[in-house]
């Protein structure tokens, strides 16, 4: 059988397909998924304190995509440690916690609190959060703020630190390099794209939050390009995210230079999506006579 294992810094995954943050809960509520295919899982985004989330409607379907504005509803870090981490400790794949803060300090505190908790294998730092200290501008839109968040987390843990990039920037390479320089172990590219949909009956935005994040197949060509740019800009591994529903979709990211991928929206539609992606990647490598995923030829921007 073809070897689809991947090594991402200090983390060895049995397969290249992870469940994306916010689309898999805390891993406890997805009865259909064939867990054997999971390379890893990223938890729903967590803050220090519990958050109620935004008012509904929170979801709007768009052509080949969906907008969401959940507002990072969640129980807060203490409840996560108490209610979910113990189960993770027994699972056969690593669980990364998706970290969110309103200030640089909050990110650091979260990492410190979670460092060493059994079941927590690493962190995915979500920098697509509004920076309350800077008037709500996203951390991820500014290389300086993105670097400071990365450094704050890095200082407080020896677990793997992945940083999840926002696509809403002029040059993703600049942010990628800034984050790499502060010691990130991997980059995740990309988070959702900001979008809006208008209700013509009320002539107001359909989402109570006005705007939301676009995910799903619609964004895939954009995400492949951004992941490719990020992979070309840094030496650390890049995890590709955005609109993956099939093995072909995932392979586009892998050939574009990603070491692994995450699947989000597709799992809402098909409880077997992750298994199909995993199995299809293995079948492709086999058919193409490529001995292992590490040997898959990549196509970076400079090629």
């Amino acid at each position: 059988m073809t070897d689809v294992g991947v090594v991402l810094g200090s983390l060895a995954l049995r397969g290249p397909v992870l469940a994306a943050s916010g689309t898999f809960g805390y891993g406890t509520e997805v009865p259909l998924l064939e867990r054997r295919a999971l390379g890893g899982m990223v938890s729903k985004g967590i803050f220090l304190r519990p958050r109620a989330g935004t008012a509904p409607p929170r979801i709007v379907e768009t052509p080949s995509g969906m907008l969401n504005a959940i507002g990072l509803q969640g129980p807060g870090v203490e409840a996560l440690i108490r209610d979910y981490a113990p189960a993770w400790a027994g699972w056969e794949f690593p669980v990364l916690v998706n970290l969110n803060g309103e200030s640089v300090e909050e990110y650091g505190e979260l990492a410190a609190r979670l460092d060493g908790v059994p079941g927590v294998a690493g962190f995915e730092v979500n920098i697509s959060c509004p920076n309350v200290d800077q008037g709500g501008m996203y951390f991820g839109n500014d290389p300086v703020a993105a670097a400071r968040v990365t450094a704050a987390v890095r200082r407080r843990t020896r677990l793997p630190v992945w940083v999840k990039l926002t696509p809403m920037v002029t040059d993703i390479g600049v942010i990628a390099r800034a984050v790499e320089a502060e010691g990130a172990d991997a980059l995740c590219a990309v988070n959702t794209f900001v979008g809006m949909s208008i209700d013509l009956r009320t002539r107001r935005p359909r989402l109570a939050n006005r705007t939301g994040g676009l995910s799903g197949p619609a964004v895939r060509p954009l995400a492949v390009h951004l992941a490719n740019q990020a992979a070309g800009a840094v030496r650390i591994p890049v995890v590709g995210i955005g609109g993956i529903a099939t093995a072909e979709d995932a392979l586009e990211f892998l050939v574009a230079g990603c070491a692994a991928v995450q699947v989000g929206t597709a799992t809402f539609i098909d409880g077997g999506a992750i298994a199909a992606v995993h199995d299809g990647i293995a079948a492709y490598l086999e058919r193409e006579g490529i001995a292992s995923l590490e040997k898959l030829p990549r196509c970076l921007p400079r090629d």
Partner: protein, 252 residues
């Protein structure tokens, strides 16, 4: 929870623009409880699944009741016998039934009638006397099929049965189960906070992971309609904060 490819086995019309579709899905039919729903995927079709209450569940068939309101429902109504959908379910927490109530009313407005044949069967099996209270704009819009011990019709224009809202036509009973447009359910909540209501929300996953189906609670915070719901004690919902989910469409 199951996710079979389910072939359409029957389609029948039950009112103007209102249809029942029956899919062969034995495990789902066997497991479905009143008030639960199924989440259907059409291919080719829109990206997300579409939630529908289980209308009936007998002999290996899952029935749903629907009207074409958008691309997904129009696509479902264009299916021909033998065409398959991916049918995920049963999902959610259904109605609670208690023999001690003696009698119940199943109160529905328009499409809200969907979950009640299954509920009526279960209620009668539990020894409850069932009054079927069903309202619509006009006689032609009333669902022609009903189940239970007696029926009360209501129409906004008085063309059949009680003239006015079905909410005003509910007799004295031990308990009320209601389903219909969210504004109608808000009226139910004002009158009978103990009633059980099945609400509609937009859904991403239907399985509890996306938090898209938020139901605002009177006590604060949000529940998931797909997991803790879609059935709630009416008084537990913060009704002004629950959207009514009536999409405006230029062409419908």
């Amino acid at each position: 929870m199951f996710q079979p490819e389910a072939p359409l086995v029957e389609r029948r019309q039950v009112a103007r623009d209102l249809f029942v579709l029956a899919f062969a899905a034995p495990e789902v039919a066997a497991a479905a409880l009143p008030g639960q729903f199924v989440n259907l995927l059409l291919r080719p079709g829109p990206l997300l699944r579409r939630p529908f209450s289980v209308h009936r569940a007998t002999e290996g068939r899952v029935e749903i009741l629907l009207r074409a309101v958008g691309a997904g429902t129009a696509g479902l109504l264009a299916l021909r016998p033998g065409d398959c959908v991916s049918l995920l379910g049963p999902l959610g927490a259904g109605f609670r039934l208690d023999a001690a109530w003696g009698s119940i009313a199943l109160l529905s407005g328009g499409l809200g009638v969907a979950p009640f044949p299954l509920a009526a069967q279960a209620a009668r099996a539990a020894g409850l006397e069932v009054t079927w209270v069903h309202g619509a704009r006009t006689a032609a819009d009333l669902c022609s099929e009903w189940e239970g011990d007696r029926v009360v019709w209501a129409t906004d224009d008085g063309s059949r049965g009680f003239a006015g809202s079905a909410v005003d036509a509910v007799p004295e009973v031990g308990a009320i189960l209601a389903c219909g447009p969210n504004p109608m359910l808000a009226a139910v909540a004002r009158r009978w906070p103990e009633a059980q209501v099945a609400v509609e929300t937009y859904m991403g996953c239907g399985t509890g992971v996306c938090l898209g189906c938020a139901v605002p609670k009177a006590a604060g915070g949000y529940d998931r309609a797909c997991s803790e719901g879609p059935v709630y004690r009416a008084g537990d919902i913060d009704w002004p904060a629950l959207p009514d989910h009536l999409h405006y469409r230029l062409t419908a």
